[in-house]
Symmetry: C2
Subunit: 403 residues, 2 copies
């Protein structure tokens, strides 16, 4: 039974794509850095050196997970800042170093997070050219399409690792391969522009960190975004992996922290917590992936069977284990969210970052084309605390809210 | 006795200008927002609404302390980001809205934090004009000098509330008065430029929050920076007060949080902690101010009496209660820091944000002119846990490290 008011006061949280609780182990790892090891890591005395060393250990641990060098990790306040830094830090460098005679070119998908699309809009206003990749009905881009868009002036391709709304996993390795192919066969032309800087490849891995490998070498990427608040770490911390040799103009200037790439006193506890969280979720990729894929498939099967109007948004195979995104044609997303809320279940209509906009309809669903359900879909995302019982209650509630 | 190795393992921290421990009450206030109230404040369901409301309460509390409106508070990652946003957010807006025909003008003091001076350098590279105020030997600027520098094209004056190295309190109210006077007597000329936007007044109050009133109405300022990590709140959070009517171009774009002025998922626990910390330290301004002034005066008197070469940097009256900055001519700052460190006492040579630079000598002391002690001064800053016994040990150690 899906009671209007559940007897047990227990709420069921199924919006892990928007926020994750800080894991107890992560909280423990951070605790000492509030009132004990609180010194400024730039300080010269023992306390400062100790904190600086702790940051170094965290940085090295993250680098190990990414198979990167520790000087390739730039800590930021969140995924948004990391995304902005990738697009605008790079393009500002290019524009400053090479002037405005040749317009730099950027390729993104239209369903990137707003931190990318808004940064791309800013890049365009500053004189850059932006190309949008087509997205197919399966919620994925095609590496071949990138090859068609690349020019010798392309400085960056940014495609998210997994979509934040429909959870579709993008062909990152294939894209990297195509970019390498283009570079190899156009080396001379590319060398004529921006000292041969482009095209680089950035991916926003904010949603991918819990389930997919972040091995930047094997992925073949130049920049990668992580957000602490999406991987069971603290909010207020994120990072950008920046491959050696890639030059970014800092967006936050001052004390020269993070190798001059991001000034401001380090959020020490956040950095420690980010490393701990990333290490835990990456260790559990397989186990959690399998467990949640089973729960997701059970939910999808049941919802599709019991609700004839329901349609899955995006490919069911190449999909994050925890993502359920379903279109309920003829229904209003936000109303469905509120109806589930009353029944004790927290899900979302689209990205949280969309809800503050004038038009909260999902840009992601719109980008898939062919469907008219951008105002009638639900994003249900499972997490480490999600149980079979939670999912069972969810699937029982869905027919009720559609009545 | 100032033992080389103190018998008690207790270390004495006297660098509260670089970092402060998170107060226990602040930690308690934050605890629930890690793993219980972890939802994204943009979410529509009960959990999201509750977190959004908690942010609203924190924002209102901060606004109350500043005698501001809650929509005038923009949360950032730290003081550096807030400083950058004030200078670059404003100037980018001016440059975008009014083109490059007329160069906007900025007035700063030369001993601002590097988050201001570096932002000003960027502003200049983008086509703005920067004027530097003279600083006098007492470590203060003069409001009259500002009047001489103001032009109808001046968009912003930025002078820190209290200096981060020598603790001198700047004549903020007088500066605001002079700017108002200039505006009144040049209204027509000012109206010709940038739609009459300037001159606005920003102050970096990062060091002032523990001891001085932040009443923006009575101070007469348009923008004000606070940093959580300097007022016994968490690191990773800061804020910029932005008076209604002041338009800034956002520097971090995406989800449109903070009224579109700073995108990115809110660092909820940090915001809660910032409000709690600010409320505690502001409540204790008088009591702590008196207590630390007494300790500071005792320390200064003793050090000057027992070390003939010692000279105080900056005015002794108009000075933060916790700041001791002394020049030991002929000695090397960093060496003195390390010698005290060995003796269990943590102090600094200049700003922490300086130590990562190629030339770590104090720009602040250099700006005072007339003295040649920018490489031989110590900054000793007291805090809430500092006792008379701590200061007594410090003053006993100083002669020993000067031998």
């Amino acid at each position: 039974m899906c009671d209007m008011k559940p007897k047990k006061a227990e709420r069921i949280f199924l919006d892990y794509a928007s926020a994750t609780p800080v894991l107890p182990e992560v909280s423990v790892s951070m605790a000492q850095y509030a009132s004990v090891h609180f010194a400024n890591p730039s300080a010269l005395y023992a306390e400062g050196v100790a904190v600086d060393r702790a940051i170094g250990v965290a940085r090295t641990e993250i680098a190990r997970i990414l198979r990167a060098h520790s000087d390739e990790i730039v800590f930021t306040a969140n995924g948004t800042e990391a995304d902005n830094l990738a697009i605008l830090g790079l393009s500002s460098h290019i524009m400053k170093a090479y002037g405005s005679a040749v317009k730099p070119h950027l390729v993104i998908s239209p369903f990137e997070h707003s931190a990318i699309t808004e940064a791309a809009a800013l890049f365009q206003r500053r004189g850059g050219i932006v190309s949008l990749l087509p997205v197919y009905e399966d919620g994925r881009v095609r590496a071949d399409d990138i090859l068609k868009l690349l020019t010798p002036q392309t400085v960056l391709v940014s495609v998210m690792y997994a979509n934040n709304e429909i959870g579709t996993i993008q062909p990152i390795k294939e894209i990297a391969k195509v970019i390498r192919y283009f570079k190899k066969h156009n080396a001379k032309k590319i060398a004529r522009y921006f000292n041969g800087a482009g095209p680089l490849f950035h991916t926003d891995a904010s949603q991918a960190g819990n389930f997919l490998s972040l091995d930047v070498l094997s992925l073949g990427i130049d920049m990668l975004t992580i957000d602490g608040g999406k991987i069971y770490g603290p909010k207020g911390i994120g990072m950008l992996y920046v491959k050696r040799g890639v030059t970014l103009l800092p967006r936050q200037v001052g004390g020269g922290q993070e190798g001059g790439r991001r000034s401001g006193t380090e959020f020490v506890a956040g950095i420690i917590g980010l490393a701990k969280a990333l290490s835990i979720v990456q260790k559990d990729i397989k186990k959690e992936g399998k467990r949640l894929t089973n729960l997701r498939e059970f939910a999808l099967d049941t919802i599709l069977r019991t609700n004839p109007s329901a349609q899955v948004n995006g490919d069911r195979e190449n999909r994050l284990p925890n993502n359920i995104n379903i279109c309920f044609l003829g229904h209003d997303s936000e109303f469905l969210v509120l109806k589930l809320d009353v029944r004790g279940i927290a899900v979302s209509s689209s990205s949280s970052c969309n809800t503050k906009k004038d038009d909260p309809r999902s840009k992601v669903i719109q980008s898939l084309g062919g469907k008219d359900c951008d105002g009638s879909s639900l994003r249900i995302t499972l997490g480490r605390s999600t149980t079979k019982a939670h999912v069972q209650r969810l699937v029982k509630c869905i027919p009720e809210i559609l009545k």
